[in-house]
């Protein structure tokens, strides 16, 4: 298992390097000029100096290596230094956002908590809904409960998140006036009232994503439970006179969760991508919103770093899913 993990980790490095190269080169083609928003009164030679100051004078491979150095060495070392208080910061200039002239890593660090709250809570609630729903559907296939469960899953899968979000705003903000339609990041949770307000503003974005997650996961729970219910060990357990509850929750569910756990791990990068849209609807200033605003502003270092961050998530969670599968299911042997 350990050798397999090490081998997979080693394989992830060239994949990530290749992806970083693709992301970098794609944005190199960008026609947008970071100088476009500067006043036209700046003389051409000064403009050229500013371009060089931004690092645009070098050929692309020099800038690619410099970017890699900044993403993998300089920025992590600064983050580590800030977290531990020890002066570990590596030499070299930091990766700056063209939009705000602040280090990219710091802006992302500011934005990340909001995204993590929305994404994390929605995934948690999604799983909490999906598992009972899937098990109940599988217990009586083709019953009315199963049909409704299938419909909910299909609808959650087919209705775009931007429409569910807008629908919730129309119902709960515009018509009923219960929940705020915009997320207020300045809100600090200090007492019960602010906690209630925080819960109210998280309610809709989390519901939208949770519904989408529950739809996907419940299908896998259903399929895995059905698969297991047909196995011999279930018959053996039933023959020993165990109650149906015990059969389901002590034996079947535990086995059924093996593929489900990997699906849950594989789905994590997807919901970060889904958060891009959800954050846009509810004006949550997380990393998704950051990406969209950076794209609109031609802030290339920011877009490159964020896109690469999404790719890192995909590769990491794919790896995690494979390792989890091997750990949970002793029948799987990679070596």
């Amino acid at each position: 298992m350990l050798t397999y993990t090490m081998r997979r980790l080693a394989l992830a490095v060239p994949t990530l390097l290749l992806i970083s190269l693709i992301v970098f080169l794609l944005l190199e083609l960008a026609p947008g000029d970071p100088m476009a928003q500067m006043p036209l009164t700046i003389p051409p030679e000064v403009r050229e100096q500013m371009r060089i100051a931004l690092g645009l004078g070098e050929p692309w491979y020099v800038r690619y290596v410099a970017w890699l150095h900044m993403v993998f060495v300089v920025e992590p070392s600064h983050m580590l230094a800030a977290a531990t208080g020890v002066d570990l910061a590596a030499e070299g200039s930091r990766l700056l956002s063209w939009q705000s002239r602040a280090p990219v890593a710091e802006i992302i660090a500011q934005r990340l908590p909001q995204t993590l709250w929305v994404v994390g809570l929605s995934y948690l609630f999604g799983i909490l809904v999906a598992v009972p729903l899937g098990v109940a559907s599988a217990r009586r296939p083709h019953s009315w409960l199963d049909t409704i469960g299938t419909f909910i899953a299909m609808a959650g899968f087919s209705v775009p998140t931007f429409f569910t979000g807008v629908l919730l705003i129309v119902i709960f903000s515009v018509t009923l006036g219960w929940l705020p339609s915009m997320y207020d990041t300045t809100l600090e949770v200090t007492d019960w009232d602010s906690l209630r307000r925080q819960a109210a503003q998280l309610a809709m974005p989390v519901t939208v994503l949770a519904l989408y997650n529950a739809a996907q996961i419940s299908r896998y729970v259903r399929a895995a439970t059905l698969d297991n219910l047909a196995q011999d060990y279930v018959r053996a357990v039933r023959a020993r006179g165990m109650s149906e509850r015990a059969v389901l929750y002590l034996h079947v569910l535990r086995n059924a969760m093996i593929p489900v756990v990997t699906v849950i791990a594989l789905g994590v990068p997807n919901i970060f991508a889904g958060a891009i849209i959800t954050e846009q609807i509810f004006r949550v200033n997380g990393i998704g919103e950051l990406l969209i605003s950076a794209i609109h502003a031609n802030d290339i270092p920011m877009v490159q770093t964020l896109t690469f961050l999404f790719a890192v998530l995909i590769v990491l969670f794919n790896l995690l899913a494979d390792i989890l599968y091997g750990m949970l299911d002793p029948r799987i042997r990679y070596d």
């Binding site: 290749l18 960008a30 026609p31 299909m154 339609s181 964020l306 999404f310």
Partner: protein, 298 residues
């Protein structure tokens, strides 16, 4: 009598599939709904001859009336007419992007499955594409090439080709994997070996023997691919990175209506409902087709 008996197996190839599909009420409802939507967008503009681009400042933000059954938008344009024209574009994007994605996926899948030498390279490529964060990449692609293509081919055509191409190029991987797996098992079958033994060139084996036998997963992929492409297109348009404001796709209409959400919440519901119904019906149909085409089908 004997003639009919000889013809029977030929005719009945698709019959069991149809019988199974007919038994699946959800899939039939999906097919009927999708057919209805197709009629709505194709015949609708012929019957409802209101110009979807006609700006009427005196009748802005109207509610439903006889002249405008679904009301008008912030420029006084008829919502029903826009829904019909927008649906044409949305569905066209969905189908075209699916054709590119499924075509590419089938090509890669057959090549990788049939030619062992290509397998490693093509599957690494597939893995690489699967590891790319699609939504950010699509947003970047649209951002990069929108201006250039719009300048060369005109605003609407340029964006259409760009969106269709970008979605198609980023959605072929799952088809490729399924087709490859099917081709690899097919290759071990006796009839392929027989065809190889009598010297049939690979090109003809693929077109005559392999492709017809991987049709089932391709059909299912194609159906679900339409739904996926419509989802992505409307998400791009919703984020303002798809079609320009004067091209009314359903996603773009939701995007425009969101600004008026507080005053006119009804306006966002129609295009959103149409996207949801289209994707839902196509998904139900695809699911039913998958069950019907699976020989082990229950």
């Amino acid at each position: 009598m004997t003639d009919a008996a000889a013809l029977l197996p030929l005719r009945s190839q698709w019959r069991p599939v149809w019988e199974r599909l007919r038994g699946n009420r959800a899939a039939l409802a999906g097919a009927a709904l999708f057919a209805g939507l197709l009629v709505f967008v194709s015949i609708g503009p012929i019957l409802w001859m209101v110009d979807p681009w006609a700006i009427d400042p005196d009748n802005r933000n109207q509610g439903p009336s006889l002249g405008h059954p679904l009301g008008t938008d912030q420029l006084g344009r008829d919502l029903l007419a826009r829904l019909m024209v927008g649906g044409r574009i949305t569905l066209a994007v969905g189908v075209m992007a699916m054709l590119i994605g499924v075509g590419l996926g089938t090509l890669v899948g057959v090549m990788a499955g049939y030619f062992r030498r290509l397998d490693g390279v093509l599957m690494r490529l597939t893995d690489l594409f699967l590891a790319l964060p699609m939504l950010p990449i699509l947003l970047v692609l649209v951002l990069l090439f929108r201006e250039a293509l719009a300048a060369r081919l005109g605003e609407a055509t340029g964006i259409f080709l760009l969106v269709v191409g970008a979605i198609g190029l980023t959605s072929w991987m799952h088809t490729a994997r399924i087709v490859r797996a099917d081709v690899m098992t097919l290759k071990e079958r006796d009839f392929i070996t027989a065809a190889q033994a009598i010297g049939t060139p690979p090109r003809r084996i693929i077109t005559r023997h392999v492709l017809p036998n991987v049709l089932s997963p391709v059909i299912v992929s194609a159906t679900l691919g339409v739904a996926g492409a419509i989802m992505i297109e409307s998400a791009l348009s919703f984020l303002g990175m798809g079609f320009p404001p004067d091209v009314p796709t359903w996603g773009r209409m939701v995007h425009d209506a969101v600004d008026y959400l507080q005053q006119f919440p009804g306006r966002v519901l129609w295009p959103g409902a149409f996207i949801s119904l289209t994707v839902l019906s196509v998904n139900y149909l695809g699911d039913g087709l998958r069950a019907a085409l699976d020989p082990r089908g229950i």
